[in-house]
Every structure is written in structure tokens, then in C-alpha cells.
């Protein structure tokens, strides 16, 4: 069984919304860091490719951030399929705008508010890997810190106190900022759902998959997903 699983080429889909701008980055990052096959899926699709190991909602400004970041994308036809796949246990990662979409569609709790400092923040940030036991972080092993770039105007994670306590209590907080760049509640940079198969994070692993980009820590995240698939 094990050999059969390893023989099958790992497969990922990157959803492309109008206004996504990190979709290509995600494709290249996943191909180069994990050697997986990546299909681009237009948001109007009503079906996803078969046998997916990973679905990525990329960063960008889907629908021009109209109404609220991620609100319109959450209503895209393809999102029904993404929700179904997530409920069936397929790994889903929402990066930046993708994280916003995941909260808007209800796969992750909370919301992303305007940055406390009002400014768009674009810089590498130090992260603590709070939970190294998830399928997204198992590959970090003993490594407890990572560096990835953030680039967002609305990355200020918000949830009510009860939800935050629950997230922390259940080990759903996966990444925390070492220095909070945007006012996020409890320095939260990334969370997983209860089932542990849906990750939302504001920092970009897709901008940290090669030493030439300043960090390779994002590659570990992508590899980790396929190793645990």
C-alpha cells in the first residue's frame, strides 16, 4: 500500500480568481519544493480535478477586494467544491487573500481586519511554529522558527476571546508572529481548522521556497503536506 501511494504523482490545484496575483508563484513554489503536479483551476469551474492532495487559494486581490477582502471570491462556483473537498479531508491552504477567503467561506473561524497601523505591510517576518504536529508543519521537525514574507493591508486576525481561547486550547494556532506587524490577535499568523486539514496563513510560503528569495522555509510547508498525504 505504501509503495503504491508513493508511486502516485502528488497533485495540487491552485484556484485562480480574477485579481489573484500569487497563483503563478504558488504553482512554481509547489512544483519546485515538492515536485508535485499543479493544475490551475479557474474560479468559475464547477468541478475540481480528481485525486487532489492539495488545494491552494493564492494571494492577491480577488475581485479587487470589493465589499470585503475575500467576500466575493467566497461566493465563486468553485468554492462549493473546495468546501466539499475540505470536508472530505483534502488539504487546503489559503495564503494571504486565500486566508481571507477561507474565513469568509466559513472553513476557518474569525476574520481579517484592516492592519492596526493602517498601512500595507510588506516585509520578511519571523514566525514561531507553535504547532509542529500538523500535516503542514510536521516537516519542520525540530525547527521551531521560520521566516516568510508578509504582504497585506488586511492581515489583522480577529476572533472573539472565546474562539481565540478555543483555537489555542485545541492547538489550532500554527504560526505566530515574533513581532506583530499588523495587530493580529494574540500574534496569530496562521491557524488550522478543527480537522487539521485546512490552513490559513498571512505570510507567504510561496515567496520563501528558495534561498535566493531570502528563505527556504516555505518549501518545507509544501513538502510536509505531500509527505503526509
Amino acid at each position: 500500500m505504501r509503495t503504491v501511494l508513493q508511486a502516485r504523482a502528488m497533485k495540487a490545484a491552485v484556484v485562480v480568481f480574477p485579481g489573484s496575483n500569487c497563483d503563478r508563484d504558488c504553482k512554481v513554489a509547489i512544483e519546485r519544493s515538492a515536485g508535485a503536479r499543479v493544475e490551475m483551476v479557474w474560479h468559475q469551474e464547477t468541478a475540481l480535478p480528481d485525486d487532489l492532495d492539495l488545494i491552494v487559494l493564492p494571494g492577491g486581490f480577488s475581485y479587487g477586494d470589493y465589499l470585503r477582502c475575500g467576500a466575493m471570491a467566497a461566493q465563486s462556483p468553485v468554492m462549493k467544491e473546495v468546501v466539499t473537498a475540505a470536508n472530505n479531508g483534502v488539504a487546503v491552504v489559503g495564503i494571504c487573500n486565500g486566508f481571507q477567503v477561507l474565513t469568509e467561506v466559513g472553513l476557518l473561524p474569525g476574520a481579517l481586519l484592516r492592519n492596526a497601523g493602517l498601512k500595507y505591510v510588506c516585509k520578511p517576518v519571523g514566525l514561531d511554529i507553535v504547532n509542529g504536529q500538523t500535516r503542514f508543519t510536521a516537516g519542520y521537525g525540530e525547527q521551531r522558527q521560520a521566516v516568510m514574507t508578509v504582504g497585506n493591508g488586511e492581515g489583522n486576525y480577529f476572533a472573539d476571546e472565546e474562539t481565540l481561547d478555543r483555537l489555542e486550547g485545541e492547538g489550532q494556532v500554527v504560526f505566530r508572529y515574533q513581532e506583530n506587524p499588523n495587530g493580529s490577535a494574540r500574534n496569530i499568523a496562521g491557524i488550522v481548522n478543527k480537522g487539521g486539514n485546512v490552513l490559513g496563513l498571512m505570510p507567504h510560503p510561496d515567496r520563501a521556497f528558495d534561498a535566493d528569495l531570502g528563505s527556504e522555509d516555505g518549501a518545507v510547508l509544501f513538502r510536509s503536506i505531500f509527505q503526509s498525504a
Partner: protein, 79 residues
């Protein structure tokens, strides 16, 4: 009928835009301004004759799309 939906961040949710506007107004010589909040207004026509039924319909729209009730509250006016 005309529906007007006002959406604001809930009390207790930091409204940084409101804060910035408030600070700007202070700087322009209106120090008495307090608790400025920035929200959004959505207007549309609705093919309906019964105000109560229209309101219920618009409420469903708010819950589904127009507001994110994790962070926002809304007010509906039907005229």
C-alpha cells in the same frame, strides 16, 4: 421598494479607518469629534410590495454576503 443597508464594524472591533478620520478631524480643528466610525452603505431597488417581507429578504442577503457578522453589524431601511 428601495433597500438601504448600513454596515459597520461591531463595537469592540478596532475601526482603524474611523480612528484615522477622527484624528484627521481633530487636526483640522474639530477636537470635539469622538467615536468616529467608518462603515459602508449599500442601496438597491427590490421588486417587492410588502416591507416586512422585503426586510426579511434583505436580512438574508446581509447574513449571506453583505455583512460579515463575525466583525460587522448591519441596519436595514426599507422605503
Amino acid at each position: 421598494m428601495k433597500a438601504t443597508v448600513h454596515v459597520f464594524l461591531k463595537p469592540g472591533v478596532l475601526d482603524v479607518q474611523g480612528k484615522a478620520v477622527e484624528n484627521a478631524l481633530h487636526g483640522l480643528g474639530w477636537p470635539s469629534v469622538k467615536e468616529a466610525r467608518v462603515g459602508r452603505v449599500i442601496e438597491f431597488d427590490l421588486d417587492a410590495t410588502d416591507a416586512e417581507a422585503a426586510k426579511a429578504e434583505v436580512k438574508a442577503m446581509c447574513e449571506k454576503l453583505l455583512a460579515n457578522t463575525v466583525i460587522e453589524s448591519y441596519r436595514i431601511d426599507i422605503a
